[in-house]
């Protein structure tokens, strides 16, 4: 967890909930939604994007430093919650980006209203049920299995020990709570919403879909289905890469994303 002077942690109140928020940079607004593993805080790749954009990285309800409001049970609830967050932050014509479960939330938000979106970036996103393959089991598996699922080639991950080291007792409590919340949101239907592809046909927002070709959790087929469902979407596949391109291939990932963002009208 790297915190820089641009990556200050703060809180913002949404309804009655204090939301933990990492933010930094300047320029057009970019909201990034983390995945089921939780909010890793301000990361080097956020810093890279913060050169051109004002990057907001909130902890989702029930994850890390944000309490779960008692009405939040589903990804739809989370999407509505984030739309309230967007309003609280005063974002308009912003870039919405999400990874894994956060990508699913982002897609649901875009389906709710895309008129305030300048661009949409989905990274190895959950949300669509594949036809020919399966989303891997992430809850009813051991820690060792979970760790194996994450990266295609751990040896190419910069600062790998950051993701594999033994957690402090405080971090363990957070990690346990994060997994509890992810279970609550994603258990059934499992990491998808059958209606979501049908929602997305109206989302005319320019969209980048980024996928690690060897994603062992959410298969590339889901990226292809997102591309088919979204009218203005480009799918960019990162080779030799697993479920977390931002961590496993950070330079290539930032390059792909910044190129797309630079081309937005």
């Amino acid at each position: 967890m790297t915190t820089t002077q641009h990556g200050n942690r703060s809180t913002v109140t949404v309804g009655t909930t204090e939301v933990e928020l990492f933010s930094g940079g300047s320029g057009p607004a970019l909201l990034f939604l983390h995945g089921a593993g939780g909010n890793a805080g301000w990361q080097p790749w956020h810093e890279a994007l913060a050169k051109t954009y004002t990057v907001y990285v909130p902890s989702q309800p029930g994850f890390n430093g944000t309490e779960r409001p008692d009405w939040v049970y589903t990804i739809t609830d989370v999407a509505h919650f984030n739309r309230s967050l967007v309003q609280t932050l005063g974002l308009s014509q912003y870039i919405l980006m999400g990874s894994s479960m956060g990508g699913w939330v982002a897609a649901e938000m875009a389906a709710m209203c895309h008129y305030d979106l300048r661009g949409l970036v989905l990274v190895d996103a959950a949300g669509i049920k594949p036809d020919k393959s399966e989303i891997a089991e992430i809850f009813m598996v051991s820690t060792q299995t979970r760790q194996k699922q994450r990266f295609y080639d751990p040896s190419q991950v910069p600062n790998l020990d950051q993701y594999t080291r033994t957690l402090t007792p405080e971090e363990q409590v957070i990690e346990h709570a994060n997994r509890e919340m992810a279970s609550r949101l994603c258990w059934r239907p499992y990491l998808h919403n059958l209606s979501l592809p049908h929602y997305l046909g109206k989302v005319s927002t320019p969209t980048l879909i980024v996928w690690g070709r060897q994603d062992a959790i959410i298969p590339l087929e889901c990226g292809e289905l997102y591309q088919q469902a979204l009218p203005h979407a480009t799918l960019t596949v990162i080779e030799q890469c697993g479920h977390s391109p931002a961590l496993e291939k950070p330079q290539e990932f930032v390059q792909v994303v910044t190129t797309f963002l630079a081309g937005l009208p």
Binding site: F139, V141, S142, T143, R179, E180, S183, R184, R188
Partner: protein, 380 residues
């Protein structure tokens, strides 16, 4: 006075350590290709004969339960088993410990239990359980939902039994707009409700708050005494004085004609013990299955949280701890008296067979309980 209940997990006793070893877990991963329905047919027959015999020789009750994806319990439906008990017995209470109400439609649960109560002539004790986490996983339900589904199902079942229909129920998990079950229980206002647990203080507190008898399923005596103390504390907070009728204790127990023979047969109580609940923590205690309050209670009481599960004790150590009681009628009686003195339970639940114990040996054990042990306990 103590009531003595017979209980059999109805194991599929053909499974061996060698069968189980290759698999990541003893339940969810152990393939059901190891199950032979022809063999199960014979086993069920034996288990039902044991029920009938227990009734005949003088047990006060028969306890049953259910588990899913488990080779050591061939009962995926306690209600089906209770229906059998109701028909093969005449006098015994039928204690279902119990229905996994969080995972089923509570209205159907209420109907089935009411039906069983009518069929059995009011002999049903209706236990409600949260189940092991594997039950919830096997049902495809998020472990984070178990507790609130349990609470809602409990309230709805009670309403089905006590409120004339039709009525409406707009709960989060089990919404129904028209409920009017034709069959209602014979016992009024409803069958007794028991609540079992293995080691969780949260379960004890829940039972005590509702005034429901708490059945401890085989924790070690020291832990059980602590849990009982929590029951008492909670009952006092709520405003009643609990007695033995609020507390039961389950032990693995077998009687034979001699101590030597019982020692030999009783060894089977350790059948595949290390595999029964073997599996990652994600199976046995997934995040969200226990409430944060339950975890807080556990933290605040450092001695609590270790039952027998996952804890390797030898056959002799388990006997020394009165967790397994085997012997001649005299030996078993002496040990049961010790447990009664120590815990003062109103119900002694006999976990009476295991693995591939011979049917004849189990039948003889039941007989010796009925002719020697139970009458002596009652005469104390």
């Amino acid at each position: 006075m103590v009531d003595v209940y017979w209980f059999s997990e109805q194991p599929y006793g053909y499974v061996t350590e060698q069968d189980l070893e290759p698999y990541e877990s003893g339940r969810m991963h152990f393939p059901n290709t190891n199950f032979d329905p022809e063999k199960a047919h014979v086993l069920y027959q034996n288990y039902h004969d044991q029920y009938a015999w227990a009734d005949e020789v003088g047990f006060d009750g028969i306890m049953s339960n259910e588990h899913h994806s488990s080779y050591w319990c061939m009962k995926p439906s306690v209600n089906v088993d209770a229906a059998v008990i109701a028909k093969v017995t005449k006098k015994t209470k039928i204690a279902m410990l119990g229905n996994v109400i969080a995972l089923n439609d509570p209205v159907k649960m209420a109907e089935e239990i009411a039906m069983l109560d009518c069929i059995s002539g009011g002999r049903i004790v209706s236990g409600f359980v949260r189940g092991t986490a594997v039950e919830t996983l096997h049902a495809g339900i998020s472990p984070t939902e178990n507790r609130e589904r349990f609470e809602e199902a409990h309230d709805l079942i009670l309403k089905c039994w006590t409120t004339p229909g039709p009525f409406r129920w707009e709960g989060r998990h089990f919404p129904h707009r028209m409920i009017n079950p034709w069959v209602v229980p014979m016992q009024k206002p409803h069958p007794p409700i028991w609540f079992p647990g293995t080691g969780s203080p949260e379960s004890v507190i829940w039972a005590a708050k509702h005034g429901y008898p708490y059945m401890n399923l085989g924790s070690l005596l020291d832990l059980t005494k602590q849990l009982k103390a929590i029951y008492h504390e909670t009952a006092h907070e709520v405003g009643y004085e609990p007695g033995p009728q609020h507390f039961g204790y389950l032990m693995r127990c077998l009687v034979a004609d001699t101590d030597e023979k019982a020692q030999e047969i009783g060894r089977t109580f350790l059948w595949t013990e290390n595999h029964r609940n073997r599996g990652p923590i994600e199976f046995n205690d997934p995040p969200g299955y226990q409430s944060r309050e339950a975890m807080r209670i556990k933290m605040s009481r450092p001695l609590i949280g270790t039952g027998t599960m996952g804890r390797r004790m030898t056959y002799q150590e388990l006997q020394d701890a009165h967790n397994i009681i085997v012997g001649s009628p005299e030996t078993v009686l002496r040990k049961l008296r010790y447990v009664r003195e120590d815990l003062n339970p109103g119900y002694i639940l006999i976990y009476g067979n295991e693995g591939n114990m011979r049917h004849e040996d189990v039948m003889r054990s039941i007989e010796l309980f009925g002719t020697k042990v139970i009458p002596a306990l009652k005469a104390d």
